[in-house]
Symmetry: D2
Amino acid sequence: MTPNAPSRPTRVAVLGASGRMGAAACRAVEEAPDLELVARIGRGDELSAITEAGAEVAIDLTIPSVTAENVRWLVEHGIHAVVGTTGWTEESLEALRTQLEGAEGVGVLIAPNFAIGAVLAMRFAEIAARYYDSAEIIEMHHENKLDAPSGTARHTAAAIARGRAEAGLGPVPDATEKDPDGARGAVVDGIHVHAVRQRGLVAHEVVQFGGVGEQFVLRHDSFDRISFMPGVLLGVREVAAHPGLTVGLDGYMDLG
Amino acid sequence: MTPNAPSRPTRVAVLGASGRMGAAACRAVEEAPDLELVARIGRGDELSAITEAGAEVAIDLTIPSVTAENVRWLVEHGIHAVVGTTGWTEESLEALRTQLEGAEGVGVLIAPNFAIGAVLAMRFAEIAARYYDSAEIIEMHHENKLDAPSGTARHTAAAIARGRAEAGLGPVPDATEKDPDGARGAVVDGIHVHAVRQRGLVAHEVVQFGGVGEQFVLRHDSFDRISFMPGVLLGVREVAAHPGLTVGLDGYMDLG
Amino acid sequence: MTPNAPSRPTRVAVLGASGRMGAAACRAVEEAPDLELVARIGRGDELSAITEAGAEVAIDLTIPSVTAENVRWLVEHGIHAVVGTTGWTEESLEALRTQLEGAEGVGVLIAPNFAIGAVLAMRFAEIAARYYDSAEIIEMHHENKLDAPSGTARHTAAAIARGRAEAGLGPVPDATEKDPDGARGAVVDGIHVHAVRQRGLVAHEVVQFGGVGEQFVLRHDSFDRISFMPGVLLGVREVAAHPGLTVGLDGYMDLG
Amino acid sequence: MTPNAPSRPTRVAVLGASGRMGAAACRAVEEAPDLELVARIGRGDELSAITEAGAEVAIDLTIPSVTAENVRWLVEHGIHAVVGTTGWTEESLEALRTQLEGAEGVGVLIAPNFAIGAVLAMRFAEIAARYYDSAEIIEMHHENKLDAPSGTARHTAAAIARGRAEAGLGPVPDATEKDPDGARGAVVDGIHVHAVRQRGLVAHEVVQFGGVGEQFVLRHDSFDRISFMPGVLLGVREVAAHPGLTVGLDGYMDLG
């Protein structure tokens, strides 16, 4: 997407600029004609460099132990924040909401997943789930991933379960009587989830729906970390127009 | 989907009951606990049998030359109509709209495609199109299909073009300079469309979206004509709650 | 495939002609110009009808408890046999081999799977396995299947394990440390196997291979029981040219 | 694949070491425990550095205008050559064959495609083609590719045509009467070939076969240039055992 360039570029700071995601975000901001990278904050750098540089929006791609503190500081100084770091708890989110009530016009986006395709897959899965008897998830990742299934697959299973509940659907049909080795995979919120680990892959999700005589499939492939950047930039461009706290990139997307 | 059975089954007539689609509809209505098949109308049968049987909803699966006349008769007699026959023109639709203004509470659904999955694919394609640089369609059918590409693929291309226009996206990127044999396929509303014809297939559509480092795919497979029946039944169940004319099954679906 | 029609059609009997597979085989033989259906043997029919009809080849699609006895009778009477019934043991196969030594020129084919595509997938999987670090299987079936994973998936896993052993490959790479719900599926001969159960599907197998920067995929879809018939006819046409016992349709296929 | 490391590493030179493929080859050789990189030859470097370094095998990844001359020099000096450069003609191949007759024990491999998966797909496609009525190819590449369809797709179409001819199959079934925009794609050796161009993709090929009630699919995905390296290393390890000229990596692979 190439939005209309505003008259003046938005001034952006990146926290966690020396990490892999942070470095990719710096490059993405630099290449966007409507954005200007004014501060790269790495470990040990003072946050005051952000205000000194006149940043309007900050991207936090740091680590769980410092992100909440960073965002509190940013809101305190009237800087919008786009946050990709995990580790937020109900308590830290609640504290942030309270702080934002007193910070008029400041927006914060906390997004566990900046891949637009993963967000689309999750949303579409919830809708499609209403219309099909069967639903199953296959997530596929590189061979070095430590946990199974992926967090995205768990979230997608939850979305499917919500869609099925809304439509009054019961359990998925499954006549399996004999599965001595566990080939039917994990069951998350009533939905079977399979995890493939394969050298050469990055991050992929397939959601399959089945009804009498038909199949409906959603698939998202992330071939590269860079695929998160359009989502990050979407957040940066929209955060000022969404005061208060938004959790999930879909809050900024027009999925209706 | 197993909706809550109403206290009394809805009384349903099928027009075109001796055709293949009509016969399948008769079976589907008979097997639905909340519906009752009260009239099968074939070629040469009198329409009056529909009112005599006390039908509340009629399914029209006849042929282009008679469907408009059938529907006019049904509306005249206060019977809701669910129509899968093609051949409607802007003129015949307009005449029907005018008639329906004077027929309070009567609903008509005209749906060119009753496959819920095809409707979902089209709707999701329009939304996803806003977020990706590239979009392309591959439709696949049995080897006896006479035309290419399919009507569904053409409609999907139009939906993608709408989504791209809404997002201010220009033409899809494509550096092709040399394509002597036409491998890049058809271009419909700016979107490349490929048609595969293969023995053993029925009706399949794949929509692929691409951005830097990622891919998003929608796929619908119709393995059997019976896959249209859930859409027909959805229409029958919802038509009374939607007075006036609705074109497209998506008008009855909650896709938000 | 349209083989050259021989001067005189081969005379074929079908045992188990009233079962679903048997009925399909009868139709397939009747439609083949180079074959002639001369006897349909159902439960209770005398086998002598086969010799009386002058059958040269018999297709056995009966049940495990009678197939060995049927085939013994056929070999005794000099009739070639193409057998799709399961239930053969090492003992019954050995007895048949011994009998065939004294029945010069008589051929018997016992094939656990007549789907040519499944045979190809298994053979190609063994070859491809030599060249890839990772290999994983996803089998998908209708929701009424009782066991998981499928027999074909188990055989394919064994074929992959053979291929890896030939190439001196060790275990597949897999860093999974945390998989509380069993998302990584079954492990058969060292290969992860996933079983999807979905309404609307019939029988499908996907074999995925991965190496640094690449993926190789084999996929077979059976949409209908009729997909076994080309394999049955291949057996009927080739059995006379392969005296003695052959186990597996691949013995008749040119896969080199 | 982790072959048994030989007692002494093979000494390897890379020509075209400063190009992208050449640089990747240097890294791959350095990382292989059974190989030793002894010379990197870039533009302007003297070939004599190869013999001075005691190289046993040379990898030529230069450009069409110099590759033939390079290989002639290598053979003259008794060095085995693995060549990935295109631009070889019937004449230059013939001259090389003649030279090799007088160079006992020297092996040369010229491979237009070092992706093992593409070689497998092509070989398997030729075999599978014998058993299916329908066959079609979809190749998919990044949006900057200049020509369509890809060379690999053309070679695969030729392989399918050979397979069909061996089996006595006629033209693929196709009832298309109306295709005003060319959705049926290119026809290469009687096989329909479709080219998709999509941002985020690299190089992908899908080969679909269809018969009554079934489908068989071969798919190869190259996500990265690095996927060619296992093929290059396979060539380096095998070239000494294959004196004379071999065209195509499949000559070194055990595909039987």
